[in-house]
């Protein structure tokens, strides 16, 4: 019951934040240099005089700013995020088409990063001053410092021309389209490089975090007790210690979702992955503002959703936390 109340509070907060994002979008449209109608139509959208006149009427651009804001909010609440004149379709549909591809990429990267990062961190925590531990530290520093679009391009170079064993372009084979299971395998094969590239940044951060947490946890009394009871080392590490060391990682994964999404924009651009990132790139290139604004809004939706999910997972794996404790 308390959980429901808690969840309700979270959702109310989320609604307020999203409303604020919409107000921000509105303010940006009106503070950007140039006529707002240009921003709404997109600079290179090829909007005709009639279209511009109809936009003026639709968004009430002759009325006061407050009235315009309410018109804008009203439109959005009806699911109308504007029309992309470059793609020639409503923005909402455009985003709905592209969202799944980005979610596959993001989820594959998160899973890869958490599993590899945690394992590296745990392994290096066992001998914090050993050779392996130092190697992990170096690798994670390098992973953090390397720009994700650059590692992407280098991998594209490697697997595109030097050692062509993996597809480096798009989401599936368009020359020889496949059906059923074969299609699924094809998509997975195309997913390997983009998700590995994106995961690299986060492997770096998670392995560092896992390492520090494991070092802390391994010196805790209950781990000593577990060892003193004569439990096998693998049980001590994976059952007693890891569970506690994982909690901060879950938090960070949730907090990092916005960065993950932004990273996906860059990675999708490198590999022509047909997701929202690719959409962002095209909208920037064409100055397609309505699409860009809507992507900003939906990325906020994704971040908030990720935060709520993290909060719930947190409660699940850490029984000490109860609703209202914070």
């Amino acid at each position: 019951m308390t959980l429901l109340v808690h969840l309700f509070g979270k959702l109310a907060n989320a609604a307020a934040l999203l409303l604020a994002v919409l107000v921000l979008n509105f303010c940006l449209i009106h503070t950007a240099p140039g006529d707002p109608v240009q921003v709404i139509a997109g600079e290179m959208g090829g909007a005709s005089a009639e279209v511009i006149a109809s936009l003026r009427a639709k968004y009430g651009l002759d009325h006061s700013l407050i009235e315009q804001l309410f018109t804008y909010l009203h439109n959005v609440l009806r699911g109308d995020f504007g029309y992309s004149y470059y793609f020639n379709q409503p923005v909402l549909g455009l985003i709905a088409q592209r969202l799944p591809a980005t979610l596959y990429l993001a989820l594959a990267s998160v899973v890869m990063a958490v599993v590899i990062g945690t394992l590296l961190g745990v392994a290096s925590a066992r001998r914090p001053n050993g050779l392996f531990s130092h190697a992990v530290t170096v690798v994670s520093l390098a992973g953090y410092a390397a720009p994700v679009f650059w590692t992407g391009l280098l991998l594209l170079l490697l697997f595109g021309s030097v050692w062509p064993i993996l597809p480096v372009n798009g989401m599936s084979d368009v020359v020889h389209p496949k059906q059923g299971i074969a299609h699924l395998l094809d998509v997975l094969k195309h997913l390997i490089l983009p998700s590995a590239t994106l995961a690299m940044v986060f492997v770096a951060q998670y392995s560092r975090l896992a390492r520090v947490n494991m070092i802390d946890v391994l010196s805790a009394d209950y781990v000593r007790t577990a060892r003193a009871k004569g439990l096998p080392e693998s049980v001590v590490i994976f059952k007693h210690a890891l569970r506690n060391a994982l909690i901060p990682i879950v938090t960070v994964v949730g907090l990092q979702f916005g960065n993950l999404f932004a990273g996906a924009v860059l990675v999708e651009t490198v590999y022509s992955w047909p997701g929202m990132g690719r959409l962002v790139y095209d909208s920037i290139l064409r100055r397609d503002y309505p699409t860009l604004m809507a992507v900003l809004f939906f990325s906020a939706v994704l971040v908030i959703a990720a935060n709520i999910i993290t909060d719930l997972v947190y409660r699940l794996i850490d029984p000490r936390i109860r609703a209202g404790a914070r």
Binding site: L17, P33, L153, A262, S299, A300
Partner: protein
């Protein structure tokens, strides 16, 4: 009071607790105080003991020096066409030419100026906004805190790089806009950090003593609390430089670089479609970004270890 107001006094007092606790009161009674080391110097000495931190500092100095003095040694205009497009590295162009036939090495030297400046200035903006918000929220608490925390929370909902992209697209790809946009989107973590520091400091005795002595709020915030909150802020400022450099690269990569100013990000962004024809035009600027971010991260880690005695054993 004066020793407590000096920077890094927190680190000092933590040291004092473990090592020199009793000697403090004793020092009043004419014991030699010459052994006392200023906390800043102690932190510097500690920093010097960290090989990775020193390596990062040297790397950073080398990179900055190359961008400052490079143009005096290597006289090639980065925007001028000096040869065939995609000429591989050879004696004429040491690191090859780009898609227009411009010299890559010259681009690296001049581009470094822009990229490193954007990094430093954007980090400064980040820290000024973040510290102001965090200090006011943490120090005053109450409605001010609730309001500022809400604003911070709002900014954290927007993915920083994406928000910066929208800002630069709307307001134009000029170097000043890019710098400002990066600063405006990345302050929340600095604000949270500063807020936590100020909330901790607010209730400590020396702040209470200053307050009781009649110090005003601004004096307390700027002259008493801020110097003591500096160590973590310095660390986060260092890391913010790295993030800003990566952001400049990311924005330019997406075509949002300032086409009139050579920068490392711009070089990658303009040459990326030809990566299979001319690997050098993309690989070298990327390596430069990588080294710069690596250097500031190493320095940041080194400072962190030096001012956080608790973490030294790690």
């Amino acid at each position: 009071m004066s020793t407590l107001e000096s920077p890094l006094a927190v680190a000092e007092s933590e040291n004092a607790k473990s090592a020199a606790g009793p000697s403090r009161s004793a020092s009043v009674a004419e014991l030699p105080v010459a052994k006392a080391v200023s906390p800043t110097r102690a932190a510097l000495r500690q920093f010097g003991k960290s090989p990775s931190g020193v390596a990062g500092a040297i790397l950073l100095v080398l990179l900055v020096a190359a961008t400052i003095f490079g143009p005096f040694i290597y006289h090639v205009d980065p925007l001028e066409i000096v040869g065939m497009p995609f000429a591989p590295p050879d004696a004429d162009a040491l690191l090859g030419t780009d898609y227009l036939g411009r010299d890559v090495l010259s681009g690296l030297i001049h581009g470094g100026r822009a990229t490193l400046t954007v990094g430093a200035v954007a980090a400064l903006i980040t820290i000024v906004i973040g510290v102001s918000v965090g200090a006011l929220a943490g120090f005053f608490g109450g409605w001010m805190d609730s309001l500022l925390v809400k604003i911070t929370e709002f900014f954290q909902v927007l993915p920083p790089l994406l928000f910066a992209m929208v800002l630069v697209t709307l307001f134009g790809a000029k170097l000043s806009t890019i710098t400002l946009a990066i600063g405006v989107v990345s302050w929340p973590s600095a604000a949270r950090l500063t807020r936590a520091e100020f909330m901790r400091l607010r209730d400590l005795d020396f702040i209470k003593a200053s307050r009781a002595a009649g110090a005003g709020s601004w004096h307390l915030i700027l002259r008493v609390a801020l110097p003591n909150a500096l160590p973590p802020i310095i660390v986060s400022a260092t890391l913010a430089i790295g993030v800003a450099i990566l952001f400049e690269g990311g924005l330019s990569f997406l075509g949002l670089g300032d086409p009139n100013t050579m920068s490392w990000g711009l070089m990658i962004g303009q040459n990326r479609n030809y990566v299979l024809d001319a690997w050098w035009a993309v690989t070298f600027p990327g390596a430069a970004i990588f080294l710069a971010v690596l250097a500031v991260s190493l320095v940041g880690d080194g400072i962190n270890d030096a001012v956080n005695p608790r973490l030294r054993r790690r």
